[in-house]
């Protein structure tokens, strides 16, 4: 039997003789690790859900027409502004069309770019929805359905009907859920739409669109790009905005600057559009870590206390072992082994507890109008949390065991034996 096996054997006997205290110490670790896993799985699950809500659905860069006052006013060009002060009250932007100038060449340039995952055109028109005698103000967006589905999870918004109906039938519409409700319309029904000039179009409802934001769902619907251009009475090159998805989200800010420099357009990046978003996820992650680490530290103190008590109770054993030829290091190892055994048992149980509760949470129904695709609470089963949990449990129990064990190493057997 090697030296270490003897130490293991002695440690085992000590632990089994103190089942209750061992169990209590291990349960401290179990609780700490379990909570860590539950918190992290749930919090990051929530983060991912919100990421999915905002980041996956939001274009990384939105390109639209600039509506800003001209920087150099005509009078400055005529009367040199360097020599005299030209002052104009209430400068207004020049009236311009709501379309991107040269949209199609820009679109094909974008699609060729290495950093771009995809770019889709949209054409927006103001309309009235009519059913019977009712008239509702609204907006219709013309889209390329396949690309919207591929890049922006568009399919997730279609709560009834078929997203592909737009491809199958030209005069199909994906109606906003609020409009459908207000006008008592269902999939398959017909709806009359008139443009600002009063021209009427008859569309078939192919599906119901629900973003979860009432303001949007009450006015917005989607049709095929061509259909929207027809409603507006414009040609195929009339594009209101281009939505760009990049391969790497981090490129959004510099990429939008480049676009603004090259083309005469406004490019809005997702960071500017959702500035508050990142901080939210970061804070949730930070809180999870802070709470979990606190729990693990408390568990560590539990182990430290119980091991101190073990050592106090085992003074005689330590003295005998040392008197019969065991070294201080042997004795120290004995107690470190006991601490680690408690840590490993506790961690194993904690992982099971964490996984078990995660599965339960994952199955609790969570229905909300705002998130039509979510049926249960979100859980992230990242193995990294389980790994972190084990590593942290082992490190903290090792430290909690090391300090008392070092004390045991230095116990002078003579003092104990003489004390009798």
């Amino acid at each position: 039997m090697s030296n270490f096996l003897i130490i293991l054997d002695i440690s085992k006997t000590h632990l089994f003789a103190k089942k209750k205290q061992t169990a209590v110490a291990a349960l401290g670790v179990t609780f700490g690790i379990g909570m860590f896993i539950i918190m992290m799985s749930f919090m990051t699950g929530l983060n991912e859900l919100l990421d999915g809500l905002v980041l996956n659905r939001t274009p990384h860069v939105q390109i639209y027409n600039k509506i800003e006052p001209t920087v150099t006013q005509p009078i400055d060009r005529y009367l040199n502004a360097a020599n005299q002060l030209n002052h104009i009250e209430s400068v207004k932007p020049k009236s311009r069309l709501e379309r991107i100038h040269n949209a199609l060449p820009i679109l094909s340039e974008l699609k060729k770019n290495d950093k771009v995952k995809g770019a889709t055109p949209q054409t927006t028109c103001k309309v009235f929805y009519r059913a019977g005698t009712n008239n509702l103000n609204g907006i219709i967006n013309g889209i390329e359905v396949n690309e919207e589905v591929r890049l922006f999870n568009f399919k997730e918004y279609i709560v009834e009907g078929d997203v592909n109906s737009l491809i199958k039938k030209k005069n199909s519409i994906l109606l906003g859920s609020g409009i459908a409700k207000n006008l008592s319309l269902r999939v398959g029904d017909k709806i009359q739409v008139s443009n600002t000039n009063g021209a009427n179009f008859s569309l078939t409802i192919g599906g119901i669109y629900q973003s979860g934001l009432a303001d949007v769902d009450d006015i917005q619907s989607y049709v095929n790009l061509k259909m929207a251009q027809q409603i507006l009475g414009v040609g195929g090159n009339y594009i209101s905005r281009i939505h760009v998805k990049l391969i790497d989200l981090e490129d959004a800010v510099p990429f939008s600057r480049v676009i603004e420099n090259i083309y005469d357009v406004k490019a809005m990046d997702i960071k500017t559009a959702n500035a508050q978003f990142d901080t939210g996820s970061d804070i949730r992650t930070l809180i999870s870590y802070a709470v979990s680490i606190t729990l693990l530290i408390v568990a560590g103190f539990g182990i430290y206390n119980i091991l101190n008590m073990f050592i106090y109770e085992k003074m005689n054993d330590i003295a005998i072992l040392k008197a019969t030829g065991f070294t201080g290091t042997d004795v120290m190892l004995m107690f470190i082994v006991q601490a680690l055994a408690i840590g490993i048992m506790g961690a194993a149980l904690g992982l099971s507890l964490g996984y078990g509760v995660s599965v339960i949470i994952d199955n609790i129904p969570f229905n909300t109008e705002a998130l039509p695709t979510i049926k249960t609470y979100p859980i992230n089963y990242d193995p990294l949390f389980y790994l972190t949990g084990i590593v942290f449990a082992l490190i903290s129990t090792f430290l909690a065991g090391y300090l008392p064990a070092r004390k045991a190493r230095n116990i002078d057997p003579v003092e104990i034996i003489r004390g009798q």
């Binding site: 008197a323 030829g325 003579v414 034996i417």
Partner: protein, 230 residues
């Protein structure tokens, strides 16, 4: 009848002080020799320093001045781990109070020092341990927990444990001090037999004059001095 060549254990001018609560010179110029197979008893009034001396001789206490040689080797400047190894291999110690590991079986208590020494296989060690228990007449207790046997039995188990590595020296600090006369005689007889049959020197602190008179030599102590070497 006893071969007196080189001493198995020897001290030269050992002095020891306790600093707490006040400085106290507890051992004064202690020089003694213990030869192979010798059975020596140490006697003296309570508080004269017998236990203190024995802790130094057993290498457990390293806070002293002077020289200690065991089996020709000097013990000063040895590391604690090295001293533990020497203690494990060459010295068997029997305490006044039966010091056993209460949660282990009697057999395991006897086996542990040999397992630590690691010179033999576990099965051989087990066989030897059972044999030592048999010498002391308690092999039937082998598989009981050490906390479940009587005081006299415990003391015999601790002697079996002291014997397990066939050490050169057995030291005892009043090993019969807590035993009745019958158990006391058993212990004495066993020690006597071992010192002649096996190559073991005995150094036993005792208050029992009958016990001491049957040993080869009595070392008498008073106030930290060794009085005579009869």
């Amino acid at each position: 009848m006893i071969t007196k060549n080189t001493p198995i254990l020897e001290t030269r001018n050992v002095n020891k002080y306790f600093l707490e609560p006040v400085k106290f010179h507890v051992l004064k110029d202690v020089s003694l020799q213990l030869y192979r197979k010798e059975f020596v008893s140490i006697m003296g009034k309570s508080g004269c320093g017998k236990s203190t001396l024995l802790y130094i001789l057993s290498t457990m206490d390293t806070e002293y001045e002077g020289e200690l040689r065991i089996d020709g080797e000097t013990m000063s400047h040895q590391s604690h781990d090295e001293l533990a190894r020497i203690r494990n291999e060459k010295i068997g110690f029997v305490f006044q109070f039966h010091y056993l590991l209460p949660e282990f079986t009697v057999l395991k208590n006897v086996m542990l020092p040999a397992l630590k020494l690691g010179k033999e296989s576990e099965s051989t060690i087990k066989k030897n341990a059972l044999q030592k228990l048999e010498i002391l007449g308690i092999q039937d207790q082998a598989y009981k927990k050490a906390s479940r046997i009587s005081g006299g039995q415990k003391q015999r188990v601790s002697i079996a444990r002291a014997l397990i590595n066939n050490p050169k020296i057995i030291m005892g600090d009043e090993p019969t001090g807590n035993l009745d006369s019958k158990n006391s005689r058993i212990v004495f007889d066993v020690l006597r037999e071992l010192s002649t049959e096996l190559d073991m020197a005995m150094l036993i602190v005792t208050h029992d004059h009958d016990f001491a008179n049957k040993t080869d030599r009595i070392i008498e102590m008073e106030d930290g001095y060794i009085l005579n070497n009869k």
